[in-house]
Symmetry: C2
Subunit: 188 residues, 2 copies
Amino acid sequence: MAGRGRPRDAGVEARVLDAAMTEMRARGYDEMSVDRVAERAGVAKTTIYRRWPSKAELVMAMITELTSAVPFDPSGDPRRDLSEFVAGIAAALDAIPTTLVADLVAAAAREPRVGVGVRALWADRHAVVSEAIARAQADGLMPAYADPRIIVDQLVGALYYRLLVTGEPIDPAYVRALVFGTLGPEQS
Amino acid sequence: MAGRGRPRDAGVEARVLDAAMTEMRARGYDEMSVDRVAERAGVAKTTIYRRWPSKAELVMAMITELTSAVPFDPSGDPRRDLSEFVAGIAAALDAIPTTLVADLVAAAAREPRVGVGVRALWADRHAVVSEAIARAQADGLMPAYADPRIIVDQLVGALYYRLLVTGEPIDPAYVRALVFGTLGPEQS
DNA sequence: TTAATTCCGCTACCGCCGTTGCGGAAATGC
DNA sequence: GCATTTCCGCAACGGCGGTAGCGGAATTAA
């Protein structure tokens, strides 16, 4: 399986991502320099650029590791699944510095490949939640005139908008209010 | 009214914002350099930095001029006002390159002052729409269990999310579906 | 006219992102 | 052992954002 030449140092990737993480937490995206990340990882800067084409994609790779750890196993109960879905996104957004989320969004809009990556991370969850909403509509738990996929846009969009534009906090109360506004009061 | 010393060249501001606009349209945010803007405006780079503290705020000033031109005069009819509100945002987002919107969002998240500026641009409209929604709820046109301000988050957020993250188009059909999903079918 | 004041253009500089080229290190195939 | 191939570290560089300092230009006050 090994190629012809010198094999890649297996530890480099993890060391760099780790260093990027600590530098990010300590200084934020703008003040984090690739040179310092390289130094902290004990690696030449060029080695970093050989694996990730830009600072944004390096950080993107770091984030992918983080967000892929957010659990999500749908139960079939719309209210429960919706709450978990929204809370999961809120938690993921909370685990990452706000400025970084903003930069990722910017990177996603600028670099199609990054955008595709971010979307793929959540595509399956979106599909599950869309189905949960459709089921809730069919069961008469909520108005049936809205497109489930658009409701997903609205749920996720509200979180991003609040975090990035209005700057207001995304606390459990907000998450609850969001789901409550979508599904309405509990029906026994 | 004139101060003691040499007065500010009145034409500089307009020339710089104009140059920034054309450079932005031609090259996008990243490839637009302040040096070139200065050259095109016939102005020293330092003069630009004396008026705007950063590239982001320079572009922000440019955008403020643009978006402040989007008209909005509420009629009192919820469906009409909601449609105009959403369509107005969609139009504003459409008039600006997507990458620029993303960078502005990033700048808003990073630089509180920029965020305050953007929010102030829309604060009054948000208030009007919130009241329109509250009125619609009171009149029984839509479910009353949702917080109007959160509905505004969801409407605006869906637009941003679609534009910046999913990359899907914001066409009149989507705007219509968004309002329809919020207010439900027309009631004669 | 002269001094004080404010603005402007110019040059130089720093730090950072990202690239290029080169020599050496670590593996494989003969 | 030896050539080949791939990876790595190193040094240098260009371009950009942003800053500092200086000399001169334009204005007001005396």
